[in-house]
């Protein structure tokens, strides 16, 4: 069973095995949609669980996301050919950045990597991003979600400024805003009027999908 093999190999981070199994599955006529949903996505969920109990760590997450991405490249033409269920399942478009005054990159980049691996479209604005640039990006890309990150208590306050600026421009209502980073908490997210908060990259993916109504949580 190539589909099952792809899942197991992805959980074990065996890149060649994943890619070969995916190709073999396609050749034996398995729909690409089924490979993604029945195998690769399940593997990513399993990897998420392994990360949360500490069995896997950051390097493993990055590696898994990278293998997933490569496998998706093989699958994408097929997905387009198939009237794929994936096309009807809404994927999110997310504008993400570390807020002004803060240059910490790692947490935000990890979130971006994991979101992309889960099939979402991510526009990464980088670090030290002022409110105006968030506004510009929202006007330009019309994302479903804006994600903000901050490591420092002092810079986390700036998230409120960004939210206020989006409100002022009348852009807030069509958006969900999520935040994360060492300086933030769920309470803080509520206080500044964000729609959600996640403690790590794995939870961030779950949060995005629950806000998009993709998950029944």
């Amino acid at each position: 069973m190539a589909v099952e093999k792809a899942r197991i190999c992805l959980v074990n981070l065996e890149r060649n095995c994943v890619l070969e199994s995916v190709k073999a599955a396609i050749e034996s006529g398995v729909p690409a949609t089924e490979i993604v949903l029945g195998s690769l996505s399940k593997a990513m969920e399993e990897i998420g669980r392994l990360y949360e109990n500490g069995d896997y760590f950051i390097a493993e997450l990055i590696e898994a996301a990278s293998i997933f991405k490569e496998a998706m490249k093989i699958l994408e033409p097929r997905l387009k050919e198939e009237a794929s269920r994936l096309k009807t399942t809404r994927r999110a478009r997310i504008v993400i950045g570390t807020v002004k005054g803060d240059v910490h990159d790692i947490g935000k980049t990890l979130v971006a990597i994991m979101l992309q691996a889960a099939g979402h479209e991510v526009i990464d604005l980088g670090v030290d991003v002022p409110a105006e640039r968030f506004v510009e990006a929202v006007e330009k890309y019309h994302p479903d979600i804006v994600g903000m990150s901050a490591l420092l208590t002092t810079t986390a306050r700036y998230m409120k400024t960004v939210i206020e600026e989006l409100e002022r421009k009348g852009l807030r209502r069509s958006l969900k805003i999520i935040i994360g980073g060492a300086a933030t908490t769920l309470e803080f997210a509520r206080e500044i009027g964000a729609d959600g908060w996640a403690p790590n990259a794995i939870e961030a993916v779950k949060l995005v999908e629950s806000l998009m109504g993709i998950r029944d949580e």
Binding site: N53, G54, D55, Y56, F57, I58, A59, E60, I62, K100, G101, D102, V103, H104, D105, I106, T109, V127, D128, L152, T153, T154, T155, R157, Y158, A183
Partner: protein
């Protein structure tokens, strides 16, 4: 009630009142802990009363057999001048004056001869025959100080806890509070001032020389804080700060850049006196770790947040790491599980930073944890989490998530060192010295730290662990006034490296998570 002196060990003198509880006094100075809250039940605050009057043993002490010179501090009331010794196995008081620094006594900041009125930074100070200077290391959690003569002789030393714990335990939280609320800021300022003023008044010092991290020092001198709140993290000034605390002249060591404050400057100039060949690496391990790479013509510097994992151990919603084991060694394997021998103080309920490093290094060498930090054998599973027991009978263990947290703390330092060496163009093999400053470093097993890559693997005979280098650095400035009068020259040699802005930082950080030698 009259004041008495309590001599702890050979040289640490504490001031106490007659009728004061000895345990409370020692705990207040961070010399012992009171695990059962002074109830006389656990028997772990025992001390040796060498000399002096105290109350007779209580029923708890009689029960536990501490009726001779060994007593429970929490059950003992001070009745006069005492000489006490901390129980063997307890960590020693911080030896602030354990100096290997041998300063050039050439050009003192204030002249010891003649006394009288001298001018310093445009202020006239009246120096008597017995001039005294107060040196203050204004730390985030602790304020350590020394009273010294103009010749640098230490007359007295002690430390007190920060008066700011209700404003947050880390500097960034305090900074946020101060920026949001002017009253908080004023309160922080006046509390710090009064603590330092009181110490200065008690010891009749004529001059205060102070160093802290950029945030604490800026609080103390009421400098503009905005620059520290966000990138590019600039202290209000890079010059020596001159101010009055009441009627006393107070001088602040120059802040270098970002979170490299006057304390880092003091570290650096102290290291200059160690007569170590260049290039050398200076690492001050703490909640925030400062790293210097000192070459012949220039100095590279950076800071990195290494988190609380080193100073207080780690705790992820458990009570496992609440202080205790300070040394540990794996002595064998039984039933395929690691067996540890360990020493503790107070109670073996937790593991302290240096022991944590040794445990992790042994587990790594023994193959219980792989290079990526994953626990691979000898473990039990508790609520879905792998744990490795240090002592199962005492429920002492290290969990998989704990290992992850230590990995992040190590990676912060390791990636900092790697990038600094890269930027400076200095390879590990060309290092002539490695100085580990900070109290955590004193108890650190160098080989274990090298196994995990916390410090670079160099010949052990070029490694020096100095303990607190901030106060020695301030002493150096007292003895050689150039360090304060001409600080600009030194600052110009320092190139600060901002890790998050360095190309490839994330890749290096992720790679540094691996528990491999550097």
């Amino acid at each position: 009630m009259s004041e008495v002196k309590v001599l702890v060990g050979d040289r640490l003198v504490l001031t106490a009142r007659v009728g004061e509880n000895l345990g409370a006094l020692l705990a207040r100075h961070n010399l012992i802990s009171l695990p059962c809250g002074g109830g006389g039940i656990c028997g772990l605050c025992r001390v040796k009363i060498r000399e002096g009057p105290v109350t007779p043993p209580t029923k708890y002490e009689r029960l536990l057999g501490y009726t001779g010179s060994l007593r429970l501090a929490c059950q003992t009331t001070i009745l006069g001048d005492l000489r006490v010794e901390l129980s063997p196995g307890l960590p020693k008081p911080v030896k602030l004056s354990t100096l290997i620094v041998d300063p050039r006594r050439i050009n003192p900041l204030i002249s010891a001869q003649g006394g009288g009125v001298q001018e310093l930074f445009g202020h006239k100070i009246n120096v008597g025959e017995d001039a005294r200077i107060l040196l203050v290391d204004l730390g985030t959690t602790k304020i350590a100080y020394q009273v010294v003569t103009p010749g640098g002789d230490v007359l007295y030393e002690d430390s007190v806890f920060t008066p700011l714990s209700d404003f947050g335990l880390d500097i960034i939280s305090r900074l946020a509070r101060a920026l949001e609320d002017k009253r908080a800021r004023d309160e922080i300022y006046s509390r710090l001032r009064s603590v330092v003023y009181e110490i200065s008044a008690n010891h009749s010092t004529h001059l205060i020389l102070l160093a802290g991290n950029s945030v604490m020092e800026s609080f103390f001198f009421n400098l503009d804080l905005k620059g520290l709140a966000e990138y590019p993290f600039k202290p209000a000034t890079n010059e020596v700060v001159v101010d009055k605390v009441g009627d006393r002249l107070a001088i602040g060591a120059p802040m270098i850049a970002g979170f490299l404050g006057g304390d880092a400057y003091a570290d650096l100039i102290a290291s200059f006196q160690l007569n170590i060949d260049k290039p050398y690496l200076l690492i001050d391990l703490g909640t925030n770790t400062e790293i210097f790479l000192v070459k012949d013509e220039e100095v590279y510097a950076t800071t990195t947040p290494s988190g609380p994992a080193f100073e207080t151990g780690i705790s992820r919603g458990s009570t496992v790491f609440q202080g205790g084991v300070y040394r540990a060694r794996m002595t064998g394997v039984k039933d395929e599980k690691p067996v540890f021998q360990y020493s503790y103080f107070v109670a073996p309920t937790g593991i302290l930073g240096p022991a944590l490093i040794s445990i992790l290094a042994d587990l790594r060498r023994g193959g219980f944890i792989d290079e990526g930090g994953r626990i691979v054998r000898g473990y039990k599973t508790l609520n879905g989490m792998k744990i490795l027991y240090i002592d199962e009978s005492r429920d002492l263990y290290i969990s998989q998530v704990d290992v992850r947290n230590i990995q992040k703390a190590i990676a912060a330092v390791k990636s900092g060192v790697r990038i600094l060496m890269r930027e400076a163009g200095v390879s590990k093999d060309s290092l002539k010295g490695l100085i580990i400053a900070g109290n955590f470093g004193v108890n650190l097993d160098v080989e274990d730290a090298m196994t995990l890559g916390l410090i670079p693997s160099v010949e052990k005979d070029i490694v020096v662990a100095t303990g607190n280098l901030v106060l020695p650095g301030l002493r150096v400035a007292i003895l050689d006034r150039e360090y304060l009068l001409n600080s600009k020259t030194i600052l110009e040699e320092i190139k600060t490296v901002e890790l998050p802005k360095t190309p490839g930082y994330m890749d290096i950080w992720v790679d540094s998570l691996r528990l491999t030698p550097l």
